[in-house]
């Protein structure tokens, strides 16, 4: 009997926490289907008919930003993973002069928070004439994003069995070929977890694009959402429809990667 009671209490507390967590999100979806009248009269209840035109208006205003973010995050994640695999491989599987020092030089950056370099980095990007260009995002994103990936990939690559590498080298395979044909396919799941984490970071970044991008045509989604909110101010239906649309790309990513995502997130956070 006593055990039973404990189980009930736990379930109830978890459900309450879950409901409270989801209320804002459910309200978001609910409000996105309302016209002005429904919003004013029955704001917190479900009303019919659904005003689907909200989504049409919102999509027209927001789709370009989604596309921009798509390219910004896409190029970044490809760059990050390419740089990180190339760097992690020799650090894990080859011996060369200054190896430990080079590894330390890379990993030490995990201890340096972005707040230190934010302002001088802007000065630098400004000097390179990368302001108002996606190069000003890609450069720092790829440089900064690779550090954690190298840290994780180096230990993963090091754990692969040595015989495989010997066999491949005896067959005359070059190092790049070994990396591309053997190491990377074997590391697919860890690489994709790191990729998802990187996409999440760049997709959600606000401060750096705010500093670098002024041109409305080049803005990523985070900046776009703020302009979008100023444009629709109290036109709440389309505003919330826009927020829903903005959430969909990451939800799709989550559905595809949910298992790895949940495990990889906990695993990689543990390693920090």
């Amino acid at each position: 009997m006593k055990v039973d009671k404990g189980v009930w209490i736990r379930n109830i507390v978890l459900i309450i926490l879950g409901v409270l967590t989801f209320i804002p999100l459910l309200m978001l979806v609910n409000l996105s289907f309302k016209d002005a009248n429904q919003f004013n009269l029955h704001r917190w209840t479900v009303t019919f008919p659904f005003t689907l035109a909200n989504y049409k208006d919102a999509w027209a205003a927001i789709s370009d930003y989604i596309w921009n973010s798509f390219i910004i995050s896409g190029v970044t994640v490809i760059g990050v993973l390419a740089f990180a695999c190339l760097a992690a491989y020799p650090l894990a599987r080859m011996s060369f002069f200054m190896k430990e020092q080079i590894y330390f030089l890379i990993i030490a950056l995990l201890m340096i928070p972005s707040v230190l370099s934010l302002v001088p980095l802007f000065g630098l990007v400004n000097k390179f004439h990368m302001v108002d260009s996606w190069l000003g995002l890609w450069g720092p994103y790829i440089a900064g994003g690779q550090v954690f990936c190298i840290f994780v990939l180096r230990s993963f690559f090091a754990s692969l069995p040595e015989e495989m590498f010997e066999a491949a080298r005896l067959d005359g395979a070059g190092e790049l070929r070994i990396l591309l044909m053997i190491v990377m396919p074997l590391s697919k799941s860890i690489i994709s977890t790191l990729g998802v984490l990187n996409i999440l970071n760049t997709w959600n970044d606000y401060v750096w694009p705010l500093m670098v991008i002024n041109d409305a045509k080049l803005k990523p989604l985070t900046l776009g959402l703020v302009s979008f909110q100023q444009q629709f101010v109290t036109n709440y239906g389309p505003l919330f429809a826009g927020y829903v649309i903005a959430s969909i790309p990451l939800i799709i990513l989550f559905i595809f990667a949910s298992k790895q995502f949940a495990e990889g997130l906990a695993g990689s956070a543990m390693k920090m």
């Binding site: 507390v13 989801f22 190339l86 340096i112 302002v119 630098l124 790829i142 705010l210 985070t222």
Partner: protein
């Protein structure tokens, strides 16, 4: 000859592989980080040559009233965020862990992880609406509970409640990453330890306090340090919601840094603020690393 040439080239392969990484890190990470230290002692405006002024930036910072207010706000926000993100996900994870049905565990885990994929900006703008004094959900609930019109809070609009509103954002603060980290910690506790404790008569609360919490201290420390680092640096809410106001009620040093650089072109002063925040974070990280290292090592899986 040919093999020697090949050998010679082979020696360069590791460096070739590392070249993109090293070049990009030196350019976009090391150079700005090191120059931040130098700029901190100058009155650089971002365009002209920096001019050395010694410790003037730091003296100004310490004397400045908005920096002091900002520093106090940052401490309040950070302490609060550390407190809720250490405790609430731990409670959620403990309850999930104790529910012995895998299907149900999976469901609850998914429930708390899902909100992580909603873009942070959407969550922030949504909370801005929930906190809206006229049309927002929170005041609607308060007035349906019988709070009269003139007593409804202005939330982000009043200096008395703006900082509290910032802390309210994210209620009930069940952070998905925290839940996952704690859950991994609980699941790593060997069954034999729990069983031995139960044999010795530990049940319910004493099991939690004496056995489980001591065995997840490395998770607690990890979450605490991540939130300390995040709290010291964060100023996105200020940028989006309040601009540091009303008055200086929600300003923080990071936000002052941003404003000094981007609005006032005072890159030297901004760099100095960045340097102070970095030193603060570095001290916390060192303290934390010292303790984490001495702890039980968890192997992944």
């Amino acid at each position: 000859m040919k093999t020697r040439g090949l050998q010679g080239m082979k020696r360069w392969i590791p460096y070739l592989f590392l070249a993109p990484t090293l070049i990009s890190l030196l350019t976009f990470n090391y150079y700005p980080a090191l120059s931040a230290i130098y700029y901190s002692f100058t009155d650089w405006n971002g365009f002209n040559a920096p001019h050395f002024i010694g410790f003037d930036n730091f003296v100004e910072m310490v004397k400045s009233l908005d920096f002091q207010t900002g520093f106090r706000n940052m401490l309040i926000i950070t302490v609060f965020s550390v407190f809720v993100s250490v405790t609430i996900p731990a409670i959620a994870a403990e309850f999930i862990y104790k529910i012995q049905k895998p299907g149900l565990q999976h469901f609850y885990r998914l429930m708390f992880v899902f909100p992580l994929v909603i873009p942070g900006m959407v969550i922030l703008l949504l909370w801005q609406f929930l906190l809206n004094p006229e049309v927002g959900l929170i005041n609607s609930v308060l007035s349906s509970l019988g709070v009269s019109e003139e007593h409804l809070p202005l939330w982000l609009g009043s200096p008395d409640t703006a900082l509290a509103s910032f802390m309210l954002i994210g209620f009930p603060w069940v952070n998905g990453v925290g839940v996952l980290i704690y859950l991994a910690g609980f699941q790593n506790i060997p069954r034999s330890v729990i069983e031995a404790a139960q044999m010795d008569g530990a049940t319910g609360w004493s099991l939690i306090w004496r056995i489980e919490i001591p065995l997840i201290t490395s998770q607690i420390k990890l979450i605490a340090i991540l939130n300390i680092i995040g709290g010291i640096q964060a100023f996105q809410n200020q940028l989006v919601l309040t601009g540091g106001g009303p008055g200086y009620s929600t300003t923080v040093p990071g936000f002052i840094m941003y404003q000094s650089a981007m609005s006032a072109s005072r890159f030297g002063y901004a760099s100095a603020i960045g340097l102070v925040l970095f030193v603060l974070i570095f001290i916390f990280t060192l303290i934390n690393n010292k303790y984490i290292k001495s702890d039980t090592e968890y192997s992944p899986d």
